[in-house]
């Protein structure tokens, strides 16, 4: 059977991370499974962990009055779910729901923050990885906001459908 450490090492988020850091991080990790349709967390709740998705799909949702529940992003195997555990006030900004059976590794945010305080090199390594993901998501969100396929949001006529 593969150990949790091996699974962590194989996840793209931790690719290339030194063995000694993995050994520290594994102490904060647990395996979790979410059934199809299960809510993983809700907006406003305390963000005490993040997830490395290994299999399945998770939808980030917001509720908009008069429209209903909107999915604003989906995350798949290899993706990271959640960074609100990193920054105060440590609250989730969206709901997260498993769209299908989802397997993930949960990392305890408080445990990880403590270890990062004790070892700033580890903290810096993790922050670099999160910064990259946050930047990618920010770019994607900007593109989404431009509504490039909408009637108004395009600079070319093929801004269609």
């Amino acid at each position: 059977m593969r150990t949790l450490e091996t699974v962590l090492a194989e996840h793209p988020f931790f690719a290339g991370l030194e063995q000694r850091y993995l050994q520290i991080i594994v102490g904060c990790a647990t395996n979790v499974v979410f059934e199809k349709g299960q809510i993983i967390f809700r907006e406003g709740e305390e963000a005490d962990r993040f997830y490395l998705i290994r299999q399945g799909r998770v939808a980030l949702e917001v509720h908009a009055a008069g429209i209903g529940t909107l999915t604003i992003q989906t995350l798949d195997a290899g993706d990271i779910l959640g960074w609100s555990w990193l920054v105060p006030p440590y609250r989730w900004h969206f709901d997260a729901r498993a769209v299908e059976l989802t397997r993930a590794i949960a990392l305890d945010g408080e445990c990880l923050r403590r270890k990062c305080e004790e070892d700033h090199d580890l903290g810096y390594e993790l922050l670099k990885r999160f910064a990259e993901i946050i930047t990618q998501r920010l770019q994607a969100t900007r593109l989404q906001l431009l509504d490039v396929y909408g009637a108004e949001g395009h600079t070319s006529r093929r801004g269609g459908t």
């Binding site: 799909r57 939808a59 949702e61 429209i67 209903g68 529940t69 909107l70 999915t71 604003i72 992003q73 989906t74 798949d76 290899g78 729901r97 769209v99 299908e100 990618q136 770019q139 994607a140 593109l143 989404q144 431009l146 509504d147 490039v148 396929y149 909408g150 009637a151 395009h154 600079t155 070319s156 006529r157 093929r158 801004g159 269609g160 459908t161």
Partner: protein
């Protein structure tokens, strides 16, 4: 060049604001040969003439197919046409997708919105010659699930051929079980060998710019990335200058360009 009359043999609604016209020559039995990626100037009599890509099968010259999104005067008038009506056609014009040159390589198609229309012609060809290519991957983004073009055909192709199809939408109500996110987010994990890949990209220009960045990040060289550009057009044959993009006339030197040729132009403003 005088428009040739074509009769509508079928009009199909694709989505709330797009439709596909199937046309046949009204003047003779002579078919219409074209290469995937080329476009025609379509003339709605008494309204106006616009460039529209050919979205049909290049191996079938008996039917001429165009998919159009209703945005303004001419496209809306075109959307009101019915079976049996006649429109004028000039073409085919412009450069095709480099599908013959791509033989032996993986082919990644990145389409946004109505940008899938000219790429469908390429897909017909690629799938007809399936064994000549490595992986064929279609990454397609639209605004919402209701805006997905050619839905049934894509499902059929996916089941029938060795074709990877990944669709994503910018937003969806919670019943949608597919991907939500911009089309560029599909590129990092799409299964292709970046060093031996030809990428064909068509959609809104901003989307294309970001898609190209992601393709380059994956290691696809700019000379292997092809984009289909759009500028206002009038003559369609490189005479009037309406479609000029610095040294190029998009109607004649394009619409399909390898990215290394136009990179410096697309990164500048106001051209």
């Amino acid at each position: 060049m005088v428009p040739r009359p074509f009769r509508l043999r079928q009009v199909r609604r694709e989505t709330s604001d797009t439709f596909t016209l199937e046309l046949e020559p009204a003047d003779s039995a002579e078919g219409f040969c074209f290469r995937a990626g080329q476009f025609n100037m379509l003339y709605v009599f008494g309204v106006g003439e616009i460039p529209i890509s050919i979205s049909g099968n290049p191996a079938n010259p008996r039917v001429l197919t165009h998919t159009t999104r209703e945005v303004g005067t001419v496209t809306k008038a075109m959307g009101k046409l019915r079976r049996g009506d006649v429109i004028g056609v000039r073409g085919p014009f412009g450069t095709p997708w480099p599908i013959e040159q791509a033989e032996g390589a993986d082919v990644v198609i990145v389409a946004g919105g109505i940008g899938l229309a000219p790429l469908r012609s390429a897909l017909y060809h690629l799938l007809a010659q399936r064994d000549r290519y490595g992986k064929i991957v279609l990454l397609y983004g639209t605004r919402t699930p209701g805006d997905i073009l050619y839905r049934r055909e894509l499902q059929r192709w996916r089941a029938q051929f060795d074709l990877e199809v990944h669709i994503t939408v910018d937003r969806a109500l919670s019943g949608w079980r597919g991907n939500v996110g911009v089309v560029t987010s599909l590129i990092p994990r799409a299964p292709f060998d970046a060093r031996n890949t030809v990428a064909l990209v068509c959609g809104p220009e901003i989307m294309m710019r970001f898609a190209v960045l992601e393709l380059q990040r994956r290691g696809v060289p700019p000379s292997h990335i092809y984009v289909s550009l759009e500028r206002n057009m009038k003559c369609g044959v490189g005479v009037c200058g309406h479609c000029q993009l610095a040294p190029f006339f998009v109607c004649k030197d394009g619409p399909v360009f390898s990215y290394d040729k136009v990179q410096h132009l697309l990164e500048k403003r106001e051209i």
